[in-house]
């Protein structure tokens, strides 16, 4: 490269501007600063949303596990007892009638209060 060419190339480099993000904030233009602020705000909202969604998912998973998983207690434990329908089926009727007929012979036994 000739000396003249090198000199022209160095001048071109010097003419190229420094990019905006490399500049200090006070040196950036006003529009640039407001775009960055909005981005930070959106990021903050996104973080809160993701954290809330994770917490909700965990709570929902716990609830679903409680309802569906066989080993988990799903309801308040009732006291051990015969289920009422079964009880009704096997319950003995203690007030049944017997069968009477007129006496046809002298009595062989008697009933009386004891």
């Amino acid at each position: 490269m000739s000396r003249a060419k090198r000199t022209r190339a160095m001048k071109r480099k010097q003419r190229v501007q420094i990019p905006a993000h490399a500049q200090p904030p006070e040196a950036r233009p006003e529009g640039e600063r407001s775009r960055r602020g909005a981005a930070v705000h959106r990021a903050r909202i996104a973080k809160v949303a993701v954290t809330a969604a994770a917490a909700l998912s965990a709570a929902a998973a716990m609830g679903l596990a409680r309802i569906t998983y066989a080993g988990h207690q799903k309801h308040v434990t009732p006291p051990l007892a015969i289920p009422q329908p079964l009880y009704a089926v096997v319950r003995q009727n203690l007030l049944q009638a017997g069968i009477l007929a007129p006496a046809t012979a002298p009595p062989s036994i008697a009933t009386s209060s004891s």
């Binding site: 051990l80 203690l94 009638a97 017997g98 069968i99 007129p102 062989s108 036994i109 008697a110 009933t111």
Partner: protein, 281 residues
Amino acid sequence: MGDPYRFRAMGCEVVVHGASGSERNAIKRLFCERERVFSRFVSDSELNRVNSASGQSVTVSSTFAEMLALALEAEHQTGGLVAPTLGAELEAAGYDRDFALLGDDARLHGPIGSDPRNVRVCGRSLLASEGVRLDLNGVVKSRTVDDALQLLAGRGCVSAGGDLAVRGSFVVALPRGGAVTVRRGGIATSGSDRRRWLRNGCIQHHLIDPRTGGSAASPWEQVTVCGGSCLSADIAAKAAFLLGAAGPTWLDRRNIPGRFVPSAGRVIVNRAWASSLAGAA
């Protein structure tokens, strides 16, 4: 049918018709075993052990649990009239020793038992509220009659103090005259004419009204009921006696034959008794 077999158990005479030698022994053994478990007057009976532990949970034998379950069911089906929790009331009325030893008593009526009289049974665990004393004699005696009948191979009859169960037809003499054929089930009489005594000048008897806690005041001297078993008959007879004038109707609503002997006046029968005899004639 040969001579009846007789022996004493549960404070009354037991009469068995139609039993062979081995069946007689088995029946006597059954009555004696039940008496040892359920008597209030046998100091080491299971009943006394349970009564001395009221307010605490106790484990009982399967026989005890079964009898108590039956007694609680009887209480439920009679609307609380025939209750197993009146032991304290019986003792307060003066029936605190074997009836044969009971004489006129000058003491005042004792304190009535606790209220509410809660008893809970779960399997063989029993919890009675503090102060409750059980008396299962009524249910135990009649149930034992039914169980004894099951020990007979053929036609026969078992009676304990006049409460009886039959297999095959038996003609049975009734209080204050008359007789009837019992074709199926059992017949029992409850009344205030027996097991009565004086306490502080007042007549007491063993049929306690749970509504008052004292000996029941009833227009009936004796109520005889024919039930599907001796137990059914005994429970219904007691309830009808305690209900007084409403007794015949209460039995009729359940189509159970009943015969009522008043203290004075003529014997009456309810519609179920009359229709049962008319239908069979």
